[in-house]
Amino acid sequence: MRVELRSTVPLWLILSAPMAAIALAFLSCSLLILWTGSPVLAAYGALLRGAVGSPFALSETLTRAVPLILTGLAVAVCFRAKLWNIGAEGQFYGGALAASLLGTGELSLPRPGLVLVLLLAGWIAGGLLLWIPAWLKTQFQVDEVVTTLLLNFVILLGISYLLEGPLKDPLALGWPQGRALVESALLPRLIPRSRLHAGFIIALLAALGVWAIEQFTVWGLEMRAVGANPEAAKFLGIPVQGVILYTSLLGGGLAGLAGACELLGLKGYLTLDLSPGFGYTGIVVALLAQLHPLGVVGAAVFIAGVYVGADTMGRSLGVPTYLADVIVAAALLWMLVCMGLARYRLRWD
């Protein structure tokens, strides 16, 4: 028996690597559950029930997946062109802020019109927030990992100021939150008596759209080429700087859209706990999906399921809900291992 390098990785293996990674993540985390003294199978049973065990659970999981799909796409698109966008969290809040500024009564339009304007505003705000680091990268070779990451804190602190000051809702009993959106700015619910909103459809369409762009358009080809080898891309006549700039508008825009959707679909007013780190989790989603836009949907639903299910697990068995973070992190680590292993094959003589 020998181990040898594959020249190409077949599709079935690319698809089964994440499955194996997820299985291994659960397997390795079962040790932690044993440590807390709970029965492993019962705990995972509770997690599964909490994630997909009932129509309500499923709707909760999908609701949670909406921002994750969009931030995952935001990261995946940028990473594909080797624009290291660590700032999806800031872009998320930027999008939410823009939607909140226009949606609290300043703009009165009939329902679908206002929603579209607000989503677009979120897109533009998020896109511009990534456009700035991308522009600095193309003009002055400023490392975008640093700028996008640090911009997150600038935006969060900026919004924190706004919510304590000019944007504070006087009716919120002193809580730092923005005024409620007008009725016509809200996204409709998809299923009555659940929280699943039309943002889910938007997220799915966005994934399809990104997939189509990457697969069928010249821009997809340009982004792949720039990501794979910028020097060759430049020599071959691809406008590398332009590609980086429009990638930033696309990627940042998707993260901004995530913020706007979460605001319009779920929360209805701007607060600082709008995102429990959706922007950062988006990085995990993108990597778990191997940057494939359709894979992002699956990865986002999985991660959302783990988080939602962990609440049930915590409630029914007393296992700490932090375990969800551990499972997601372990899945990412195992994913890296499985992707490495998928490049090899065993051969029996």
């Binding site: 358009t217 010249v218 821009w219 794979a228 080898n229 020097e231 060759a232 020599f235 006549g237």
Partner: protein, 516 residues
């Protein structure tokens, strides 16, 4: 060929290889290879790309584990599959693509990994003296404090050899060592090799350059499709027999038919940029103008300039008699220029992208290949498949075309990669062709193919600027040759009035200096 004072057959056996077999999937890369190397001997392993030379070397150095076979070093069996064991046994390998840390000094690069971590003193001064002594003895002059990033490829290679010798190698494996050297550097390099052999080192030289092998080696071994097809003393073998053994058939020499040049298509007027100083040059239709010169005298700048990657600081670029105002790679492509860059891996192709993507990468915006931003996949596949086949890119035959075109281009061999570039550049009947080292690192068959294609393009009406360090290539292809030395270009002289010696002299600045 009288490299060694002592007859090799009496010297102790440095390396013995028995029955090495290595399979990659369906490919038999090495098939029952036997080899003996004596101390003080230079053994050349000759073979085309893909003959299994590099695989064999990688097995010797422990990068690959062979399926069968054994290796003895200085009489002791070698643990296979472990570079550390190979190093400890005294095998030193100098790779074709030098692997050094650019941002460290020469000294640090050599010492890297040799210093025990728990010593408080690194005894740099003593080590430095040892390295300098070694360098002087072998004629490997290089400044120990220079940053490796600032060295030429030839100098980096010297550093690599020093590094290997400093670690106490008794057997030196050199993979295509002259590929990175310029003609004037080769002779001193061979001198160094002989000196090293004279000190009792066993040297394995991998090459596909016949003349060099004939000049430097004591014995030669020819590999073809993973098998040893010929071994013997170099002095007793005729070069033609070697070439035949290598290729498996007789090669027809490239014949150049005389053509009368047409109007000027490409012209540089007093162009200055970087190291280039007031360079003037014209290329006419049906004409191949060669640029000779030692690497680092401005060839890359000249190539980048003509390819549209950089703009001239002074002077003008004319295309078809008009001054080019807008200079960019895309504009050059639009103007009908074909560009064959020096480095296939770095600029010519994008390795992880597929064949079709690489084929269409310069022209995907053409209405033929995309509309409203949507790629017309069917058109692209069809054209790419046809043209890649026309230019004899292997690996496409017999398979479903769509699937074959999805293959990442980095899986192809060097010769096939170059054919992909030729196919992309030449299929649109270019008016101007800029070819920078178009045959570097290619095997004989592929070299002949590239030459034939360039001549055919010239016949069809293209003006060709051929920048090369291979003088034989320039003399056999070019109509006129100019020499680039320290950023200055000599007037292009008709090829039939020049010789290799005259060009070689000018390349070292002798005639140019006299003329000034």
């Amino acid at each position: 060929m009288t490299a060694n004072p002592s007859p090799p057959s009496e010297a102790p056996l440095a390396l013995k290889v028995v029955g090495i077999t290595k399979r990659f999937g369906a490919l038999l890369a090495n098939d029952q290879i036997d080899l003996e190397l004596r101390a003080g001997e230079i053994l050349a392993i000759l073979g085309e790309n893909g003959a299994g030379k590099t695989t064999l070397m990688n097995i010797l150095f422990g990068h690959y584990v062979p399926d069968q076979g054994q290796v003895w070093v200085l009489g002791r069996p070698l643990k296979l599959g472990s570079p550390a064991a190979a190093l400890a046994a005294g095998i030193g390998m100098v790779h074709q693509h030098v692997v050094l840390a650019d941002n460290l000094s020469v000294l640090d690069n050599i010492l890297l990994g040799t210093q025990p971590l728990w010593h408080l003193w690194s005894r740099r001064r003593e080590r430095r003296r040892r390295i300098q002594k070694l360098a002087e003895e072998l004629g490997l002059a290089v400044d120990p404090d220079a940053l490796v990033g600032s060295l030429t490829l030839g100098e980096r290679q010297r550093v690599e050899i020093l590094k290997v010798l400093y670690r106490g190698a008794r057997i030196l494996i050199l993979d295509e060592p002259t590929a990175v050297l310029t003609p004037p550097e080769i002779e001193p390099f061979f001198h160094t090799l002989r000196q090293m052999a004279g000190r009792g080192l066993g040297i394995l030289l991998i090459s596909h350059k016949l003349q060099e092998v004939m000049r430097i080696s004591d014995r030669v071994m020819v590999l073809r499709s993973g098998r040893v097809v010929m071994t013997g003393k170099t002095a007793e073998i005729h070069p033609a027999a070697l070439a035949e053994a290598m290729v498996g058939q007789r090669l027809a020499a490239v014949v150049k038919a005389p053509l009368s040049p047409g109007e000027t298509v490409l012209e540089l007027q007093q162009v200055s940029c970087g190291v280039l100083e007031r360079v003037s040059l014209t290329v006419r239709r049906h004409e191949i103008v060669g640029i000779a010169g030692v690497a680092g005298n401005g060839q890359s700048v000249l190539a980048d300039l003509v390819c549209g990657v950089i703009r001239p600081q002074q002077g003008h670029l004319h295309l078809y008699g008009r001054v080019l105002r807008l200079i960019s790679p895309a504009e050059m492509v639009r103007q009908g220029m074909a560009r064959i860059p020096e480095d296939r891996h770095k600029t010519g192709l994008i390795g992880s992208l597929s064949l079709w993507e690489n084929w269409v990468i310069e022209r995907y915006r053409d209405p033929e290949f995309s509309r409203w931003g949507i790629l017309r996949h069917r058109q692209i596949y069809q054209q790419a498949y046809t043209w890649l086949q026309t230019y004899d890119v292997r690996g496409l035959q017999g398979e479903d075309p769509r699937r074959a075109l999805q293959m990442p281009v980095q899986l192809l061999s060097g010769g096939n990669m170059q054919k992909v570039i030729l196919s992309r550049e030449l299929c649109r009947d270019p008016q101007v062709i800029v070819a920078h080292q178009p045959t570097r690192g290619l095997d004989l068959g592929a070299v002949a193919y590239v030459h034939t294609q360039l001549l055919a393009a010239a016949r069809a009406g293209a003006g060709i600027l051929l920048i090369s360090e291979d003088l034989d290539e320039l003399l056999s292809l070019a109509d006129r040759v100019a020499v680039l030395y320290r950023g200055r270009l000599s007037p292009a002289a008709p090829t039939h009035t020049t010789t290799v010696t005259a060009l070689g002299l000018r390349m070292t600045g002798q005639e140019v200096a006299d003329a000034c």
